[in-house]
C-alpha cells in the first residue's frame, strides 16, 4: 500500500515539469503563457502537499490570477507573431544545454546532502503553519522587510506609470 501523498507528489511533479517544458518549447507565446499557468497550478498543488495551504492559495491568486493574466494581456496587446522563425538556434541550444548541465550538477550536489534537521519537530497533519503563524512572524520578526516590500510596491507602481507615459525628445534612440 503506497502512501497517497507519494502518488500525488509524483503526479504533480511530472505534471509541473511537463508544463515547464511546454513554456520553453512552445513556439506560440500564448501557448507558453497557458503552459506557465498550468505549471503554477501544479506548483500550488505541491505547496498543498507540503502543508502550505495558504501559500498554495496565494500562488494561484497572485501568479495564476494576476501575473499570467498580465502576460496574456501584453502578448495580445503586442500581437507577437510566433512560428515564423524557429524560436531558438542550434548553437544556442548546445550552449544552453551545457550551461544548464553544469548548473544542475552543481545544485544537485548540494541537494543530495539536504536532510531535515535532526531536532525538527515531527511533522503531523495539524502542525502546518497557519495564517496566524504567518501574521505573527510578519508583524514581529519580519516587520522591517514588510515595510521595505510595501515601499518597493509603491516605487514599482510609480515606475510603471512613468514608463508608460510618452517621453518627448527620446525618439533619436533607435
Amino acid at each position: 500500500m503506497t502512501d497517497p501523498r507519494d502518488l500525488l507528489f509524483s503526479l504533480f511533479a511530472v505534471f509541473t515539469v511537463a508544463c515547464a517544458l511546454g513554456v520553453v518549447l512552445n513556439r506560440n507565446a500564448v501557448a507558453s503563457a497557458l503552459s506557465l499557468l498550468l505549471c503554477l497550478v501544479g506548483v500550488a498543488g505541491l505547496f498543498a502537499l507540503l502543508d502550505a495551504f495558504l501559500l498554495a492559495v496565494l500562488m494561484v491568486f497572485v501568479y495564476a490570477g494576476a501575473v499570467v493574466a498580465l502576460f496574456l494581456f501584453i502578448i495580445m496587446l503586442l500581437d507577437v507573431k510566433g512560428g515564423e522563425r524557429k524560436p531558438f538556434g542550434a548553437a544556442t541550444v548546445v550552449a544552453g544545454t551545457l550551461a544548464v548541465g553544469l548548473l544542475t550538477t552543481g545544485v544537485l550536489t548540494v541537494a543530495r546532502a539536504a536532510t531535515p534537521a535532526k531536532d525538527a519537530p515531527q511533522l503531523v497533519a495539524q502542525n502546518f503553519p497557519k495564517l496566524k503563524d504567518y501574521a505573527e512572524l510578519l508583524f514581529t520578526q519580519y516587520l522591517l522587510p514588510v515595510q521595505v516590500v510595501g515601499f518597493l510596491l509603491l516605487i514599482a507602481m510609480l515606475g510603471v506609470i512613468v514608463l508608460s507615459k510618452r517621453h518627448e525628445g527620446l525618439e533619436d534612440i533607435k
Binding site: F9, S10, A111, F128, Y142
Partner: protein, 102 residues
C-alpha cells in the same frame, strides 16, 4: 513512484530552475524569456517551502510571501519596459535589439 522527501523536493525545484534557465538562455522572444524568469522564481519558492516544511518552521513561507510580492512588482515593471520597447522598436525579438552593439 517518487517519495515525498526533502531531497526529492529540492531536486524537483532544481529541475524546474534548470528548465527556466534553459528557456532564458535559448529563447528569442523577450516575453517568453520573462516567463522563464518567473519559472525560476517559482522553483526557488518551491525549494523554500520544502525546506520550511521539513524543518518545521514558518520562516520559509514568509520568504515566499516576499518573493511573491517582488515577483508581482517585477512583472508589472518588466512588462511596462517591454511595452515601451515595442512602441519604439516594433519588435520584442532579442536578436534585433542590438542598439548597444554598434
Amino acid at each position: 513512484m517518487i517519495p515525498l522527501t526533502l531531497p526529492a523536493c529540492i531536486t524537483l525545484a532544481a529541475v524546474l530552475f534548470a528548465i527556466g534557465f534553459f528557456g532564458v538562455l535559448v529563447r528569442r522572444n523577450t516575453l517568453v524569456i520573462y516567463m522563464c524568469l518567473e519559472l525560476m522564481l517559482v522553483a526557488c519558492t518551491l525549494a523554500l517551502v520544502a525546506f520550511s516544511r521539513f524543518n518545521g518552521t514558518a520562516d520559509g513561507g514568509v520568504f515566499v510571501f516576499f518573493i511573491l510580492t517582488v515577483a508581482a512588482a517585477e512583472v508589472a515593471v518588466g512588462l511596462a519596459i517591454i511595452v515601451a520597447l515595442f512602441r519604439r522598436r516594433q519588435t520584442v525579438e532579442v536578436g534585433e535589439l542590438n542598439a548597444l552593439k554598434d
